[in-house]
């Protein structure tokens, strides 16, 4: 699904060049449930931007379901994002003047699906996430957990191959965080690749694979079998 070889990325501000990703290699297979961890400055946001076709890279290869993502113009990038990737953000990023249903329907709007049809589909997804009764509420009338569920419905509506979640539980209490993680797990069970960026160990521990970034390269990959050990190690730390 995702294949990255020798990925380099620098940010240039004035005369200073900040080399963030330094030859990163990464393979994520279809249907994986992965979390990316790392201290700040380790390059996890940069990696997420590149994975989400939101930013380009300087050197290396990035294949997204077999297709190399390179030199896309903004329109092509937008089409790729719309078709392949569902985004979930820490701050939900719902459009404040649209109600829950309209927010969920937004990606279909960009696909030029008719209003009636996309609202119908949006209701379906809201129903699946238990928010049918809240469909006509504005984001400001929803709780944090509800907002994130709306955001998840919005990410799912375009039938993406991959869900990219940037700190999806960062703004939620631990109970709600667990609920959201449960939903993401269900999503993953349907065969969608889910990639979560987080700095919370217990959230990361709920995924099936943890990728720890360190200084722009992969520091450590902890897979399913080692998760128990990892948890123990965490408690020691």
């Amino acid at each position: 699904m995702i294949s990255i070889q020798d990925l380099h990325k620098s940010y240039v501000t004035g005369n200073n060049s900040l080399h963030v990703l330094k030859g990163l290699n990464l393979e994520i297979k279809e249907g994986e449930f992965v979390s990316i961890m790392g201290s700040s400055g380790s390059g996890k946001s940069t990696l997420l931007n590149i994975l989400g076709v939101l930013d380009d890279y300087d050197k290396g290869n990035y294949y997204l379901s077999g297709k190399r993502i390179w030199g896309l113009n903004e329109t092509q990038a937008a089409i790729t994002r719309n078709a392949m990737i569902g985004f979930i953000f820490q701050s939900f990023n719902l459009i404040s003047f649209k109600n829950a249903m309209e927010n969920v329907a937004l990606p279909l709007y960009y696909q030029k699906v008719s209003r009636k049809k996309r609202n119908l589909i949006a209701m379906e997804y809201l129903d699946r996430l238990g928010l049918k009764d809240w469909a006509h509420h504005l984001p400001s009338e929803l709780s944090g957990g509800q907002k994130q569920r709306v955001a998840i419905a919005r990410a799912l509506i375009s039938n993406p191959k991959i869900i990219l979640a940037d700190e999806p539980t960062g703004a939620l209490d631990s109970q709600t965080s667990l609920e959201v993680m449960d939903i993401l797990k269900e999503v993953n069970d349907q065969g969608i690749t889910v990639i979560i960026v987080t700095h919370e160990h217990d959230i990361a521990a709920l995924t099936k694979k943890i990728i720890r970034l360190k200084d722009g390269v992969i520091g450590e990959i902890i897979t399913n079998g080692d998760l128990q050990n990892y948890r123990n190690r965490l408690t020691q730390e």
Binding site: N49, D55, E74, R81, F87, I95, F97, Y110, R115
Partner: protein, 422 residues
């Protein structure tokens, strides 16, 4: 274009900053409003003046004698002299470019006290001696009877044509003035016609308050000899009036031993030149209207551009999210452009309607005024459909222009910026 969501977005974006949107819209509104009102006002002024003089022969000039300004051929300066009837015949025979020539003499004036009597009524009017040709230069509507003709001139008939006001004041409304007699400065004249002037141009008093005698009758009756007070000349088609004016003047000067360089002895007015000056003035007023109007409009448009920039900046995050969700740059550009076009068009259209409304109101008020003798030089302030359409096109273009800069700015927003809170 008529996607509900799109207009929903536009509405929300503008409604979120009501005061700012309103103030900006007011800029555009004011610009177009001023443009329309000024264009209408200058048109009204033009219509008023043009209506007042439209029928006057523009290919005409007028001349009259004054004391000489230079000594010449043994004559001292300051000599009194007059044009004479023979001059007229001579000019007609020797200046082929002359279309009509009409001498005019002035008799007793209305400010000299009552000079006209009919039965028990008396009044004071300007008495003028005219040729049949004069009506072709300064047209009058003949309400009753006829104008002076060649036989009146030849036979020096004691007849008169009276202005509308003279009829109203000297006769009862139901009375038939034709064939009746007026005693003017001691002599009886038979009334042959009643006229109403078609222009606002007056020579020696208003025509409706004047009495017109045959030119030759006046010369004889009031002991003027062959003296000519005033001369009206028109040029044939294709000849500039100034050419005719100069030719006629030099002939008259020659015949009366006046220095060719004397500028004061024979004064003249060239109506063609006057008209050119007036139309030049209107072109200048029109130009000024457009410069000021478009300037104001531009200020409004820049205001719109400015507010759109602010809106884009405030919605950086939102635009970023939309792009992360797969909105193409084109969708975003269309969005911003439409917002700006909507704002300018609505504001501009309101300005346009209110401007036209105001002009209509003024026009109605002017039209409802009873027509008095004192004509206002302001009539029918209006804006042509061309101007209105041009204004609308300018508005839409201005909206596009105002939207293009913020749209470009919106495109520069990387979706990444929406991802992170910082």
């Amino acid at each position: 274009m008529f996607d509900l969501d799109r207009w929903n977005e536009i509405w929300h974006a503008l409604a979120k900053n009501k005061v700012r949107s309103l103030l900006t819209a007011f800029g555009v509104f004011w610009g177009i409003f001023m443009l329309i009102v000024m264009a209408g006002a200058s048109n009204g002024l033009k219509n008023g003046i043009v209506e007042g003089v439209a029928k006057f022969a523009t290919n005409s000039c007028f001349m009259w004698s004054q004391q000489t300004g230079e000594p010449y051929k043994g004559f001292k300066r300051g000599r009194q002299w007059n044009m004479e009837s023979d001059d007229i015949t001579y000019i007609l025979n020797n200046v082929p470019e002359v279309e009509y020539i009409s001498p005019k003499n002035f008799g007793s004036r209305m400010n000299g006290g009552p000079n006209t009597i009919h039965g028990l009524k008396s009044g004071a009017y300007n008495v003028k001696g005219d040729y049949p040709e004069y009506i072709k230069i300064d047209p009058y509507t003949i309400l009753q009877g006829r104008w002076i003709n060649d036989m009146d001139i030849r036979d020096k008939r004691k007849v008169c044509v009276i202005g509308e006001k003279v009829f109203e004041q000297m006769f009862d409304a139901k009375e038939n003035p034709l064939g009746d007699y007026l005693k003017i400065s001691g002599v009886y004249y038979q009334v042959i016609g009643v006229i109403r002037p078609e222009t606002n141009i007056n020579i020696n008093g208003r025509a409706e308050e004047s009495i017109f005698l045959p030119f030759t009758t006046m010369q004889q009756t009031y002991n003027m000899g062959n003296m000519v007070h005033f001369l009206a000349v028109t040029a044939k088609k294709g000849t500039p009036v100034s050419v005719v004016e100069e030719k006629v003047k030099s002939i008259i000067k020659l015949r009366h031993s006046i220095a060719p360089t004397d500028v004061q002895a024979l004064m003249s007015i060239n109506i063609e030149e006057q008209f050119k000056q007036i139309s030049g003035l209107f072109i200048a007023i029109g130009l000024l209207t457009w410069i000021v109007g478009i300037g104001t409009l531009m200020a409004g448009v820049i205001g719109v551009s400015n507010i759109m920039l602010v809106i884009v900046k405030e919605r950086t995050k939102e635009i970023g999210v939309q792009r992360a969700l797969g909105a193409s740059p084109r969708t975003i550009i269309t969005q911003i452009m439409l917002e700006s076009v909507a704002l300018t068009t609505i504001a501009g259209y309101t300005g346009l309607s209110m401007g036209v409304g105001l002009l209509e109101l003024v026009s109605k008020i002017i039209d409802s005024q009873p027509k008095t003798g004192n004509e206002v030089f302001f009539r029918n302030p209006e804006v042509s459909i061309t101007v209105a359409v041009a204004a609308l096109i300018i508005l839409v273009l201005a909206g596009l222009f105002a939207g293009s800069i913020p749209a470009k700015r919106a495109l520069m927003i990387k979706p990444i910026e929406a991802l992170r809170e910082e």
